[in-house]
Symmetry: C2
Subunit: 486 residues, 2 copies
């Protein structure tokens, strides 16, 4: 994990890096000659905060600090890592990297966000070019895991390994290239598709919207988690890739594509692209499209996380990192009541009639009980545990999407096998009590699955908490049963 | 909606069509010369049943009946729709379609699953070629929504419209092509990517796994819901597509790709592809990869459904169709107790310690309450409704992933604003009682959000149900409060 990074360039990509780094707790010094840079980064950061809060409930670290630097030299002083995201012009990047390399600590790792320029050429004028590599990210940088790492002729293997390690610590998925090559891997693939798509529009075979539909309702869904080769292997059946190529290889020779040429970007083609793209957007602003994109990315990544596969596995790995790095909960045994859990209402919690589904309140209470168990020292890894045997829920108000909620916990009683707790869920902004849950937790031994006394250390901890809570007034709604009262 | 369809060809694509049609309640007659065809379709159907049960909780219709036909003529007799999915050889398809067209009812719609052959040529020898169109699906056909509809020279607009309508009734997303063109839209895009990917392997720049990673951790995630043009529009910022092209158009002229040629599929390249693909699969069988693929597709589509966007909107539309078509619930007011809800435990319900998360039991009970409200005549569209104000949950056993559960409901009491219900959740296989929920429902007026008496028709219905339930024994756990009992 790094503590301080410099960013050279703060546009869509540089701003995305700023957001990813700051939200990972890294302090960032940004150099960008545009007077607008600070505003752009702030806006990106707003998007990123919203996105990460929705992507995960794992504890995010305290945000790093953003400083705007007046020149590249000021930005890179005393940092461990420099990421350059200047416009895609070789000369410009080369000079910027050379200047910065003279001012940075000699051990600072340098990376460029270039989509396709060769690292050996970019590093040509640097001091210590051996610590330079390409680190090519994808938009939005604060959400997409991929970063292509490609060293040049003089890059040391240690530099590549260190850059990959830094990116992984930010929750990314580094893909280290075997060879230095123009456009690396991803952009060659993306450009092949893009070139063909432009021909389809140029030849009036399809509009931009129809082309997008042809992707997103079909192959694009598969590409999101398996790519192309594994998908085709499956299509080959048990005989795998050899069978697939035998079946579909010949079609490659059919004159289906127009890949032999690039469509000329005439004014006419450009007008057509623009008009069709405007029609497709239907008046939506870029900002609303960005949110839609982020929401869909989050949904796809969360879906894949449930399968612990592809980008979902990246999210899961990153969450484990976050949990491992999280500072111990501030709650102490004498805090009365305990305050162990908070959550921002995700839009997925809202049901068909615009309300938070009743089961989501119990999800928040269940997560609070989990936090209590972690607080009591349980690893929640399949060993002994307390299980809920009974819950009484009261609904007093309604939470809305995006609202910040927190839960307090009062221990009402305990014996060697049981803990009797009362959770209260509040809207944090106005401290309105929205729901309560009274629960009986039963200690269950691993393996047998039978009720059994908890370990002495756990019981001592429970007793300390209960003693601290004994002075609290008994919650008004404790001990209720469901009944028609008149 | 159609009732009877014929399939000509039962491989990966034909079998996928069989599964989609049968699970939509359509009877299918299948002709395939392979003696293996029945087995292949049964296996595909097994995958599809599992996948659709996980994709949606909406009520699926009773499955259609599969018949194996000895020849094409027998298959197409008395059907409304014929889908041909024979191997990709023009002569073979042309002859098969001609034969079948002579035996089928003249008004039956014909479609071909071809990935790229021209409909005018395929229909050349047909009787009534005007009712023929291409309907090009994507694997797995029972899950992916896209189907490209492309008529030939003689196809009538009515045929294209009718085919699109049939596909939509099966939950698919028809994309009607403007012009007859080789390879349509999707395969031209897929092949451009595939061709470039083969070059990357041939030139030893990357392995098949690295190429898949370059897609699935980056652009593939975006392609799954926005395709390429809308994504790039966003990258262009507020100035949209024109700005994007100005920025990135020039890169199209860089010598980044090798699209001018097709790599020769030498034995050497083939061996390399096969070896890398085997390494990537790491010994996983095609069957397990198919399940992984389906699970990820389901997760991605469910995630997008929460945003009602792209393939998620297709799922939502299809679910509305299913709900609209579902037969009225069998439950009658004198059924005691009512049996209104069943659910198969989806894997998403399982938490870190292998148990169903406690909140999921309440989700099942909440869904049961929704079913009760629909039974009482509520549209659940934002008008008056009963809301849960209090719930008492008891946990008596554990459900596991994939188990079939059902819930019974007993009305314990009511007044003009309230209904007091007791739900019991059982594992259907052995009728084990796993959980109970006692709930107080309060009638709330639309708009004001205040408690108010329910409409007389609703109250009469509630009273009839309560009268039928009065003779039932009171559930043992009714009226409980949470307490340490010794």
């Amino acid at each position: 994990m790094i503590e301080r990074a410099a960013l050279l360039g703060g546009g869509v990509i540089g701003g995305g890096w700023a957001a990813r780094l700051l939200l990972a707790g890294v302090d960032v010094a940004l150099y960008d000659p545009s007077p607008d840079a600070g505003r752009v980064v702030e806006q990106m950061l707003g998007n990123a905060r919203r996105a990460l809060r929705r992507l995960t409930l794992a504890p995010l670290p305290a945000e790093g600090t953003l400083t705007l630097a007046g020149d590249p030299e000021a930005a890179v002083a005393a940092v461990q890592f420099v990421q350059e995201s200047a416009p895609e012009r070789e000369g410009l990047k080369r000079e910027l990297l050379a200047r910065a390399s003279r001012a940075a600590p000699p051990e600072a790792i340098f990376a460029s966000s270039t989509s396709g320029l060769l690292p050996s050429r970019l590093a040509a004028d640097m001091v210590h070019p051996e610590r330079f590599t390409v680190g090519h990210p994808f938009n939005p940088v604060y959400l997409l895991p991929l970063v292509e790492v490609c060293g040049g002729e003089r890059t040391t293997p240690e530099t590549v390994a260190r850059a990959a390690e830094i990116y992984a610590s930010l929750g990314m998925r580094p893909l280290v290239l075997r060879r230095e090559v123009d456009a690396f891997i991803a952009d060659r693939l993306m450009e092949a598709l893009w070139r063909e798509a432009l021909w389809l529009v140029a030849d009036d075979i399809a509009t931009v919207e129809e082309i997008d539909d042809a992707i997103r309702f079909g192959a694009g869904l598969r590409w999101s988690f398996m790519g192309t080769f594994l998908t085709y292997r499956i299509a080959g059946g048990e005989k795998g890739m050899r069978h697939f190529i035998a079946q579909f290889g010949p079609a490659l020779q059919l004159p289906w594509t127009k890949l032999t040429d690039v469509p000329e970007l005439t004014e006419e083609l450009l007008d057509k692209l623009v008009a069709q793209s405007d029609a497709q957007a239907g008046g939506a602003t870029t900002r609303s499209l960005e949110r839609l994109r982020d929401d869909c990315l989050i949904a796809v990544m969360q879906g894949l996380r449930a399968n612990d596969y592809a980008a979902g596995a990246s999210v899961a790995t990153w969450e484990r990192l976050l949990h491992a790095r999280a500072v111990a909960p501030a709650a102490r045994d004498d805090e009365a009541p305990l305050r162990l859990h908070r959550v921002d209402v995700p839009p997925e919690w809202i049901d068909y009639n615009g309300h938070v589904h009743e089961s989501r309140y119990l999800q928040a209470f269940g997560d609070t009980t989990d936090a209590l168990l972690r607080h009591l020292g349980f690893a929640l890894d399949g060993g002994d545990v307390y299980m809920t045997v009974e819950t009484h829920l009261g609904h007093l108000g309604q939470a809305r999407a995006g609202e910040r909620l927190h839960v307090t916990t009062q221990v009402l009683g305990h014996d060697e096998k049981r803990v009797h707790v009362f959770h209260s869920l509040y809207r944090t902004d106005d401290d309105a009590l929205l729901a309560t849950a009274e629960q009986m937790l039963l200690h269950v031994a691993a393996g047998s699955g039978r009720a059994a006394p908890a370990a002495p250390a756990v019981l001592a901890r429970v007793a300390r908490i209960a003693a601290a809570h004994a002075a609290l007034p008994r919650p008004e709604r404790a001990g209720r049963s469901v009944a028609l009262r008149h």
